[in-house]
């Protein structure tokens, strides 16, 4: 059994890498749509099947070998391991990857074979990096895979790199997450400096010996990395822009998997966080603020993908808040359900964008009759996100809210409850406008046919089925993790559900029943509306900082480099050249002139050799050469005598 589970572990992680290597290294495979996508999908199918097999067996195994042997520290370990947390992440990553890769077959149908192959190459690399990330055993290895998923995110956001918005968004995502990653790197090295190991089990044993302020500092820095990756306030600005990438990419990377890497990192290092509470309180506040902020910003967005992006920011805030309140289990459950219903929402939105060639919700409308299938799918996703019974989002969000309530974080509980209300409002605002709206901005043009081939609908239905039934598996989920699901019975038990339904009702009043005009409300609340539309000027602040602080610094550095460093080099070179030009004139080409030089030199040496006995007191030679050689001769004679 032991050997089997190790093989299965390899079968989960390695196939996407092999697919990446094949597609990446052999251009003939990449240039053919069938082979590139076929290899990639085959690899992820193997991964998904192996993940499911592993979940069924639920073994406890690892593959570990020494990577860098060190003498004065513990050796640096490279290896993969499995525990229930890893297995659930395996399941999420491989299943959503599979769904997205199948879906992309049709979504990217119009791409040229070359960029189609490039897409699947990156998809395979991403699947490998994410699977490797979740199963990593050492902090250094986590960091390597962390950067790899960041790289894939960059490459896939900028997939349509000829569009300036896309390449700019890719660079922005890379920069902002990088800002957090610097914190992660420093925190990681600080921990290594204190304990001398990157190996997680060893780290957890040695961690209590670290002095408290030091540990707190390193954990704060690691949280910074998690905030960058998981788009937490104030580093959330990259995620909405990341929607410039293809929609399946948004579904996979920017909703289900990569953005939860930050949550997962804190979850993995939870034994460290339990030793010192300040970082956790910080995480809870950041999460709560992000949840509210993301939800508020989602209200005023007109782009369906941006609405979903801000809702992702908001839901990630929920997870962070739960983590900060010590609810690692409930946060992980929300991560699990969110991965499925959010990727479902993205894929459903993608199928609309794919057919209508617009992502503006006001240009859509009246789609309910044209495509009942997508309407149903989007409705399932929206209800799950809003937390309506019996969809999975209801259970996980309930768990988080109840956790906050029972643990006595009343302020956070209230903020998150308001967020839940706003969540269902903006989600159903989008739903009503897109599927039942009048299509106001289409300028007389009739809404086109929505084409939904089975390659697109099948992955969505699978995700939808998981979305519907995953919620009831909460008990099994917590058992699997070795936790106990807390049955909470308070008078507030039904409050989240009521709040969600109120939000839906409000959205209906505004956008479907039209008893209230959203425009009038927007005008009467114009300061708030402006602030929301300007995204609280966050982007402007960053731009200002970039333009004046960073550019100013760059100008100073540039001046220093150009005039002082380069100046020194150029000065030396210039005078060397001048001296050479002078010197070359003595090279006349006449053999007799050279002979003069030789003879003068010989005469100089001759005179020096004559004068040297008289000069030696001035030359400050400690050893008189004649005496020294005499000593050597005498020593040699003595040796001969022996």
């Amino acid at each position: 059994m032991f050997a089997t589970s190790e093989t299965l572990l390899i079968l989960v992680i390695l196939p996407p890498f092999i697919s990446f290597a094949l597609n990446g290294l052999i251009p003939d495979l990449r240039k053919n749509k069938k082979t590139s996508s076929g290899i990639s999908i085959l690899a992820i199918v193997i991964s998904a099947l192996s993940s499911i097999a592993l979940v069924v067996i639920n073994p406890d195994t690892d593959i570990v070998f020494e990577w860098i042997p060190l003498t004065s520290f513990s050796p640096i370990i490279f290896g993969f391991f499995i525990d229930p947390i890893v297995l659930i992440m395996f399941l999420i990553v491989s299943l959503v990857s599979l769904a997205v890769q199948v879906y992309s077959l049709d979504y990217l149908r119009e791409e040229s074979p070359l960029s189609f192959g490039r897409y699947y190459t990156f998809q395979s690399l991403f699947a490998f990096s994410m699977l490797g990330f979740v199963a990593s055993l050492s902090l250094l290895q986590i960091y390597i895979f962390w950067e790899l998923v960041g790289l894939c995110s960059y490459l896939l956001i900028g997939f349509w790199y000829t569009r300036p918005e896309a390449s700019r968004a890719a660079v922005k995502a890379f920069w902002v997450t990088r800002f957090g990653d610097v914190g992660f790197a420093i925190g990681m090295v600080l921990l290594w400096g204190a304990t001398g190991t990157f190996f997680l089990p060893e780290l957890f044993i040695k961690a209590p010996e670290i002095s408290n302020p030091f540990l707190t500092l390193s954990l704060f820095l690691i949280v910074l990395g998690a905030m960058g990756k998981s788009a937490q306030f104030p580093l959330h600005v990259w995620l909405p822009d990341a929607m410039e990438g293809p929609t399946p990419v948004s579904a996979l990377i920017h909703a289900a998997t990569m953005v939860v890497a930050g949550i997962y990192l804190i979850l993995r290092l939870f034994p460290l966080f339990e030793l010192t509470l300040d970082p956790l309180v910080f995480v809870m506040w950041i999460g709560t603020i992000t949840a509210l902020l993301g939800a508020c910003l989602a209200i005023v967005q007109n782009d369906i993908k941006r609405i979903l992006a801000y809702s992702t920011v908001s839901q990630l805030g929920y997870m962070m808040a739960a983590l900060g309140a010590g609810g690692a289990g409930v946060a992980y459950f929300h991560l699990f359900t969110h991965a499925f219903f959010k990727s479902l929402l993205f894929l459903a939105a993608g199928s609309l964008i794919h057919s209508l060639h617009t992502s503006d919700i006001w240009s859509m409308g009246k789609l309910a009759k044209k495509t009942p299938q997508v309407t149903a799918l989007f409705l399932i996703g929206s209800l799950a996100l809003s937390g309506v019974f019996p969809f999975s989002g209801h259970f996980s969000k309930d768990e988080i809210l109840m956790w906050m309530h029972v643990r006595g974080f009343t302020l956070h509980f209230i903020i998150l409850l308001i967020t839940a209300f706003i969540t269902s409002f903006y989600m159903f605002r989008a739903f009503f406008v897109v599927f039942f709206g009048k299509g106001e901005s289409t300028s007389g043009q009739e809404v086109q046919e929505v084409k939904t081939p089975w390659v697109m609908t099948l992955p969505m239905w699978i995700l939808a089925v998981i979305t519907i039934f995953a919620g009831f598996q909460a008990g099994n989920f917590f058992n699997f993790l070795g936790l106990r699901l807390e049955e909470v019975h308070t008078h507030l038990e039904y409050l989240p559900l009521i709040v969600s339904i109120l939000g839906i009702a409000l959205a209906w009043t505004f956008y479907q029943g039209r008893y209230l005009s959203s425009k009038n409300v927007a005008i009467s609340l114009s300061p708030i509306n402006t602030a929301l539309e300007k995204k609280f000027w966050m982007d402007d602040v960053y731009l200002w900082a970039y333009r004046y602080v960073l550019d100013g610094l760059s100008i100073v550095c540039g001046w220093f480099d150009r005039y002082l460093v380069d100046g020194l080099v150029n000065f030396t070179a210039y005078y060397t050249k001048r001296a050479s030009q002078k010197l070359r004139t003595i090279q006349t080409g006449h053999a007799q002139d050279y002979l003069y030089g030789i003879i003068i030199a010989i005469l100089l040496l001759f005179f020096l050799s004559i004068l040297s006995p008289y000069l030696s007191p001035f030359l400050n030679e400690k050893e008189n050469s004649v005496e020294f050689s005499e000593q050597i001769i005498q020593k040699g004679l003595q040796d001969d005598d022996d």
């Binding site: 090279q587 006349t588 080409g589 006449h590 053999a591």
Partner: protein, 99 residues
């Protein structure tokens, strides 16, 4: 007649030869200067050997004279070629080694 006289003569001949090499413009003049320096060296060798009462110096000098003859032949051949290539036999007109 002592060794010092001989060495002084050798020094004089060597210096005259060196002066010839450095100052003559015609390549044959330079070659004659080189010959003078060679003979000065031979003279010094023979003189020293004579003062020590051995014959080795004379033998070396005989070898030296033979080599000098060969060297003169090579030198003259070189000058012929130089004349053919540069149309001159004056050393100050030949500056192809100029940097």
């Amino acid at each position: 007649m002592s060794l010092y006289h001989i060495l002084f003569l050798s020094f004089l001949v060597f210096s005259i030869g060196l002066f010839g090499v450095l100052s003559r413009r015609h390549v044959v003049g330079i070659l004659i200067g080189i010959e003078l320096m060679f003979n000065a060296a031979n003279l010094a060798i023979v003189g020293i050997a004579w003062s020590m009462g051995v014959l080795t110096g004379q033998i070396i000098a005989l070898f030296g004279i033979a080599i000098t003859a060969a060297e003169v032949a090579v030198g003259l051949a070189l000058f012929l070629l130089v004349e053919r290539l540069t149309n001159t036999v004056y050393a100050d007109k030949i500056d192809t080694m100029r940097g």
